[in-house]
């Protein structure tokens, strides 16, 4: 009897884990990917759509086309995971049995949880949001742009910093930079979560006249008054407000008793197993691990999850460990970027921004569809951790 493996979520981590498991286990496993839309979305592209540098067409593909032959795809939401029965109940009422479960459910945007956010701000964290923001920027003729974060944790931590650099470049190109003020409202006492990256980007922000307001955790937006208010008691007036919406784990995780109050899954930082349920593995945004929520994280975690489940199916000792590896590009504007490469033990030492890293990011964006979901990245580059 083949092992029944259910993967919840057809994003980066879920797709890669399913493909690696299929490759490794062949007929020894029956793999089902459950995804409510059946569409695989390349979310880093939203930033470029918002800035008018890309259209939305290249951002989504049919998940079926990315999965290896033999993997089943259920295009349906998952309502509940029943651990005692070993089943996933689907929205349509059917149940799928599992021996091993991969929770790659990602995160969801909670735009309604901050008063006034929907009415008063724009975002580039969804395709709809990016298209709305693109239109707002097209008609923008100058004024105060405030860019902030409405809740932590959030996906792709460098994105707000990238946005301020890229909007600076955009406004300069259009000849309206001198009529505009750009301010990054940071929830921390620096521009970026990682200190070494902050030390690199803050002088660049200063050089380009991008203001930084620290300890600004968004509490509400007064759309009528064009003002955003912080938990710390400050107020920032704006003409255009761009906020990263608050994030939360998926409802199925909460309803199944698999997550904490935020819907994040308590996950072992090395084995990526659920802390209370051995048959459940988690990766990507879905975990409660204090590392970046990003496609890169999921990409490096998926081989570890696949290897460990394959070991369990084969009855051999698991060898793969996740070392906390993450790699992100960070656009710094003017056709340059830097790279953040780090793990649990080693904070990033970002190189001086150059066009090389900018080109590398563009190349990666283009090659994503034929490399990452299928695991076609050289072993050394894709290995998420170590083998003990």
């Amino acid at each position: 009897m083949p092992a029944e493996i259910v993967v919840l979520g057809g994003g980066v981590g879920g797709t890669l884990a399913a493909n690696l498991l299929s490759k490794e286990l062949g007929k020894d496993a029956h793999i089902t990917v459950v995804d409510p839309t059946g569409m695989h979305v390349y979310q880093p592209g939203f930033l470029y759509v918002a800035l008018g540098q890309a259209n939305g067409q290249w951002l989504a593909r049919d998940e079926r086309t990315l999965l290896r032959k033999g993997i089943d795809l259920a295009v349906e939401g998952a309502d509940k995971v029943d651990l005692s029965a070993g089943t996933v109940k689907l929205a349509g009422g059917a149940s799928i049995p599992f021996d091993h479960l991969v929770a790659a459910t990602g995160s969801r945007l909670m735009k309604g949880s901050i008063p006034g956010l929907i009415e008063g701000s724009y975002d580039f964290y969804s395709l709809d949001g990016a298209l709305r923001l693109r239109e707002a920027l097209r008609t923008f003729r100058g004024g105060r742009i405030k860019v902030g974060v409405a809740g932590i944790p959030y996906k792709c931590p460098p994105a707000p910093v990238e946005f301020v650099f890229m909007i600076d470049q955009n406004l300069r190109r259009r000849g309206i930079r001198d009529k505009s003020e750009i301010t990054l409202l940071s929830p921390l006492n620096r521009a970026f979560t990682i200190e070494s990256a902050s030390k690199l980007v803050q002088p660049l922000m200063q050089q380009r006249g991008i203001k930084l307001e620290t300890f600004f955790n968004v509490e509400s937006v007064d759309a009528g008054a064009h003002a955003v208010l912080s938990l710390e008691g400050d107020k920032a007036d704006y003409d255009l407000l761009v906020l990263v919406p608050p994030h939360k784990g998926q409802q199925v995780i909460i309803d199944s008793g698999l997550g904490d109050t935020g819907g994040w899954i308590p996950t072992d930082r090395v084995t990526l197993q659920h802390l209370e349920h051995d048959r459940v593995f988690a990766l990507g945004d879905a975990t409660n691990l204090p590392i970046s929520k990003s496609g890169s994280t999921a990409h490096f975690e998926a081989p570890v999850v696949a290897s460990r489940i394959a070991s369990l199916v084969r009855g051999t000792a698991p060898k793969a460990n996740y070392g906390g590896r993450v790699m992100c590009f960070l656009e710094t504007g003017n056709g340059k970027a830097t790279a953040l490469r780090f793990d649990y033990e080693h904070p990033p030492v970002p190189p001086i921004p150059s066009w090389h890293w900018h080109a590398a990011k563009w190349l990666f964006n283009r090659l994503y569809w034929v490399t990452v979901p299928q695991g076609r990245i050289p072993e050394r580059a894709s290995k998420g951790g170590s083998e003990s």
Binding site: I152, P153, P187, L188, N189, T193, E195, F215, N217, E219, L231, E232, G233, P290
Partner: protein, 79 residues
């Protein structure tokens, strides 16, 4: 050791910066005025980050207690 009654305790030991501060901010966001929140942090950055944020946000830093390998921050939500 502080004798203040703790409303919520956050064990952020082992969590890298800015995790402990962000956990505190989340607890303040969800809490009631008068709540006393305790944060245990082994991250060195918390020694400056947490008191700086508490002062900025106009809450009350009740105590900072050095323990073996970590610090115990006690904060009262003041507004």
């Amino acid at each position: 050791m502080s004798s203040t009654a703790i409303t919520k305790s956050i064990d952020a030991r082992g969590m890298p910066c800015p995790g402990p501060l962000m956990s505190l901010i989340g607890a303040i966001r969800e809490g009631q005025i008068g709540d006393v929140i305790e944060v245990l942090s082994s991250d060195e950055g918390s020694a400056t980050d947490i008191p700086a944020w508490v002062a900025k946000a106009q809450h009350e830093m009740v105590d900072v207690i050095p323990e073996d390998g970590f610090r115990r921050f006690v904060i009262r939500k003041a507004r």
